[in-house]
Amino acid sequence: MTTFAQAAITGLLLGGVYGLVAMGLSLVFGVMRVVNFAHGEFVLIGMYGTLALYTGLHLNPFVALLIIVPGALLLGAALQQVLISRVTRTTDLRQLLLTLGLSLIIQSLALIIFSPSQRSLPGFAWGSELVRLGPIYVRPAHVVGFVIAVVVTGALALLLTRTDLGRAMRATVDDAEMAESSGVRTNRIYVVGMAIGVCIACIAGAVLITYYPASPNAGQTFLVIAFVAVVLAGLGNVVGAFLGGLMAGLMQQFTASFISVELQDVGLFALFIAVLVLRPNGLFSRKQAA
């Protein structure tokens, strides 16, 4: 029972951050139909940005979010204006090549600036120590990360459902031309969508660096899991992506606990394949493919 509880708690806490990464990816796809292969590198930017603020200005990594968040919003908006707008809502390979290229560029820059070494937050005990709660161990950084993930998910849900901006975004998603003719400035919506997507990825990175060392390829590890979470939920289902992340975390931990640590990713991908076969549009999609 203890093993079950430990796997469930660890899986949920880890899954919250997986979900955060997945949510940004899903949002960008949902709004702009861009499958963003540089999304993992935006997570990386969040990791290295937090590292720089922690080591340079001695800012608590969670306080550093006050700088990371506006910076990431600006970065996302600028990227949309300069680069991504050229491939938004296109269906050809250009968006794939552009985002893959962007991914390689960011990785290479990280390699040059931060070296290939593993970098973590020296002396940040929240991420390195486990705290005992009865028979269960939790890492404080996991708990804070999970809370941040839930808050971000809730805020995004409110934004999308309760604000004019959210309604405009959903209208753009449903039919961009119709929304445009109704007065929605879709290009602005794309900028906002990308800014929020990049911002969520950077928040995830800021949380991750508290317990997982940064290296130039670290973003790729989480991108793969995020893609799985997004497909579990159904491409473009933003809150579903968060739930998909939770499922990914739980699946990994239950497989590790009750089958084999070595097979934890096998369990995850087995679930992924099962969903693709049985519900190709995702677990949380109302309409299923024929």
């Binding site: 093993t3 430990q6 796997a7 660890t10 899903s26 796809f29 949902g30 709004v31 499958v35 292969f37 794939l96 893959l100 990785q107 290479s108 390699l111 070296s115 290939p116 070494s117 593993q118 970098r119 020296p122 390195s128 486990l130 161990y137 890492r139 849900a157 409110l158 459902t161 975004m169 959903r170 998603v173 997982y212 060392p213 290296s215 390829n217 590890t221 793969v224 899991i225 893609f227 497909v231 159904g234 491409l235 473009g236 289902n237 933003v238 809150v239 739930l243 590790a256 606990s257 084999s260 640590v261 070595e262 934890q264 990713d265 693709l276 190709p280 549009n281 995702g282 309409k287 493919a289």
Partner: protein, 417 residues
């Protein structure tokens, strides 16, 4: 509030594109390039993982070779070739694509015209790179451990460190001997390793030797190299009450495992299986004080008692802003000097002549001999039979040689902190 805020009906085509592009992404990046100078230079190809999980070690290995190339050139180059200078040509093998290791090696041979190769640090990458070297008849010195390298009857492959089997066979006896001096009994053994082929084989070998030495293997765990949390696994390991944990894996994973073991209250020794993350600077940086006391098998360490080692280590630290010269950098450094001596002996920069000279090489002095045992020569299969593995221990934030006595810089400290 609806849980379906934004919903789209993705086509199978989009999912297919995701799958294809994921596969493309997994292929990794291209080589970092580099060219050899023309005329009066001998090019040495340096294929190493410069991106991905093994990038830190790959970069270290490259740095060691580049330092040695500059040292050889500063000492007058290859005198029997009228002072010809060496030139290093780096290439990125990636960390996880043996096919890329083969293709960049082929490019180094065919397009860059290198006379010899040093690489590729990771066993799986070295296997495919060395096949290309063998087909082209270009000698390759490797820092990789796997036994497979020298079991294939190749004539152009030269393995500088001891093979995995030798390291695996010595791990348990070394640790037993070293800890016997501190009167610490070791009876219950846990083996934890990433599930990549080379380290897994090494871990299984260690478990087997431990059993043959009368120890009880209470836990054997293999984890994926990109593991993001080690809590569950570490609790399972600690639940078996091991006296000692043998650990293998890339740096990020090794950090996670040691951090978790320590925060769960495990204070016994952690011993690296050799190679991989435990010998990296990043490992020490990330763990802080927790790193002190961690042991690891190694094939080279910066503090071996040879004339000139202190100077080499200091110059490496100054040039690359590192706290010590790591194992793979040291092996590459030695490899370049061995290649230089072979060119000197052969009076030729032709690959086949260099290979022949390497087969007859016997270095017992100078930087080309800076391996445990202080001798570098190669058997017919390409093994360096006079070298042996060593045990290092992190003390004061750097790895120090603690066993065997021939290469001991400091005695082992009794327990991990």
């Amino acid at each position: 509030m609806s849980s379906r805020l934004l919903r789209f009906h993705a086509s199978r085509g989009v999912i297919g594109a995701v799958a294809v592009a994921l596969a493309l992404a997994a292929c990794g990046g291209g080589d970092v390039g580099g060219t050899g100078a023309a005329g009066g230079t001998v090019k040495i190809g340096l294929p190493h993982p410069l991106t991905g999980v093994w990038a830190e070690g790959g970069q270290n290995a490259l740095n060691g070779a580049l330092l040695a190339i500059d040292d050889v050139n500063a000492a007058g180059g290859i005198k029997s070739l009228k002072g010809a200078k060496l030139s290093g040509v780096p290439a990125d093998t990636s960390s996880d694509d043996p096919g890329q290791a083969a293709s960049v090696t082929r490019r180094l041979v065919q397009q860059d015209g290198v006379s010899a190769l040093i690489g590729a640090y990771v066993s799986a990458l070295s296997l495919t790179a060395s096949t290309e070297a063998e087909k082209a008849g270009v000698p390759m010195l490797t820092q990789a451990y796997t036994d497979e390298l020298t079991k294939r009857g190749y004539h152009f492959l030269f393995q500088l460190p001891p093979p995995s089997s030798a390291i695996g066979a010595q791990t348990v006896p070394y640790v037993q001997d070293a800890f016997a001096t501190a009167n610490i009994p070791l009876q219950r053994v846990a083996v934890v390793s990433s599930n990549d082929a080379a380290l897994k084989a090494q871990a299984e070998g260690t478990a087997s030797v431990a059993q043959s030495k009368g120890l009880e293997v209470v836990s054997t765990e293999f984890y994926p190299i990109d593991i993001t949390d080690a809590s569950v696994m570490s609790q399972q390991v600690i639940g078996t009450r091991p006296d000692i944990v043998f650990l293998g894996g890339p740096t990020a994973a090794s950090i996670l495992v040691v951090q978790t073991l320590r925060s769960l209250g495990y204070t016994g020794p952690v011993v690296g299986l050799g190679g991989g993350g435990i010998l990296d600077k990043g490992f020490g940086d990330a763990l802080g004080d927790n790193v002190n006391g961690v042991l690891s098998m190694a094939a080279w360490n910066w503090d071996m008692p040879f004339d000139g080692m202190v100077d080499v280590n200091k110059r490496y630290m100054d040039r690359f802003d590192q706290p010590f010269m790591p194992q793979e950098a040291g092996e590459s450094y030695v490899a370049v000097w061995d290649l230089a001596q072979s060119m000197e002996d052969a009076g030729s920069s032709e690959p086949k002549d260099i290979a022949t000279a390497l087969q007859m090489l016997s270095m017992t002095t100078g930087p080309g001999s800076f391996m445990p045992g202080q001798k570098v020569s190669f058997s017919e299969s390409g093994l360096n039979p006079d070298t042996f593995p060593m045990l290092i221990q992190w003390q004061d934030g750097v790895p120090k040689g603690v066993w065997p006595m021939d290469v001991q810089a400091v005695p082992p400290i009794a327990a991990s902190q």
